[in-house]
Symmetry: C2
Subunit: 205 residues, 2 copies
DNA sequence: CCGTCAATTGACAGATTGTCAAGTAATTTA
DNA sequence: TAAATTACTTGACAATCTGTCAATTGACGG
């Protein structure tokens, strides 16, 4: 049908544009991507970008959501919910999220820079993603609490805040890029740290 | 003498401009300070800013250094070196740096945003400040090691990296602003966390 | 053959940084 | 007192980037 062709074609160029953003982000350390460069890489004119995305911010947010979808973040994070014990849940959550970060880091940097330069839409998009991530932290801490294995050093809310902070993209960036840790070392050390901070020995052990 | 008057007057306007930046930063959540607004607040014309600072980046870096000097960061961090035990040193360092962060947070945000938008001079200025801060982390971890109280969970370099990351401005921002922790709670919890992560019980206790 | 629609092209407004040249007002120097 | 110096002002302008608009092109379906 006609409508099908239209929507297919439309979404085709949209995808090419988002891929262009991702390819640019992968190629350059710049976070200040210019519309003209994105257009060039997508093989269309700069003005044509505005036929698909209202603003630069819109385009960058859409690209972020696109990556989330493509990498199926929801499913990967949800998998950690199947873990039986609180400890296992903490570990699998660190695995799931910690290994997700490098996949979104490129576009996340761009979105973060946009947020930090005062863009409210970008801030809202980023904060909503981080709120979703916090859910997993809450769940992991709650599971520990249920098992009676949550350290008494912090009330539940504080423990969640701390875990949430430890798992931030900025910390991943600092440890892997600034400190040179491998991804494997990052994951391993975060698991160790989280256990030291939040998990106490099982009762009657 | 003539030269004296000149340098006094010149440095007077320079100071007014830097104060204008700080006052703007305190007033607005914006990191994208415009030259015209800075000039207005300093009571001079926009173009006159360039008589004192070569570029916007230069001005913002100079303001950061000015705050460092005014708040005497060096002296405050150096004080932690007088602590006797490694444990005390860790605590006093967290106190010194952790309580310094809120004083520089405003201008630090601006410099960080500049760095993250790809400004190399801003990045160099920021990185050099953070390298200086890392020195204190290294010293604290080394002091613990000397006392035989450093946790075997991490080699010295890893422990330093972790402490350095924990004390980052981004983490302070996340915990106090995003999570709503008071400054007092921030300091107290960071001390607890650092002990849990890095300090082991004294031998023969 | 005629619409429709994505995309192109050229032009332009608006914001912002940075530069330049000419002028002004106060202070210093001779 | 007259000339020179200094900090600053004002107006103009280049360059860059985002976003908008109007006119046009080219393909494709019916």
């Amino acid at each position: 049908m006609l409508l099908d062709n239209m929507s297919i074609k439309k979404s085709d160029t949209r995808s090419r544009v988002r891929d262009a953003v991702l390819s640019l982000v992968a190629d350059t350390p710049e976070t200040a991507l210019r519309m003209v460069d994105i257009a060039k890489r997508a093989g269309i004119s700069r003005q044509a970008l505005y036929l698909h995305f209202a603003t630069r911010t819109d385009l960058l947010i859409a690209t972020t959501l696109y990556v989330d979808e493509a990498k199926d973040i929801d499913a990967r994070l949800a998998a950690s919910r199947t873990a039986i014990s609180g400890e296992a849940r903490l570990d699998t959550y660190i695995d799931a999220w910690g290994n997700y970060i490098p996949e979104i880091y490129g576009i996340a940097r761009v979105l973060l820079a946009l947020k930090e330069s005062g863009d409210e839409a970008a801030a809202a998009a980023w904060d909503s993603r981080m709120a979703a991530m916090r859910e997993g932290c809450t769940a992991a801490i709650n599971a520990l609490k249920t098992d009676g294995r949550l350290s008494p050093a912090y009330p539940r809310g504080r423990a969640t805040d701390l875990l949430w902070t430890m798992l931030s993209v900025h910390n991943w960036e600092h440890l892997t890029i600034d400190c040179g840790w491998s991804q494997k070392a990052y994951i391993a050390n975060l698991k160790i740290s989280a256990r030291q901070l939040f998990v106490v020995a099982e009762e009657g052990e």
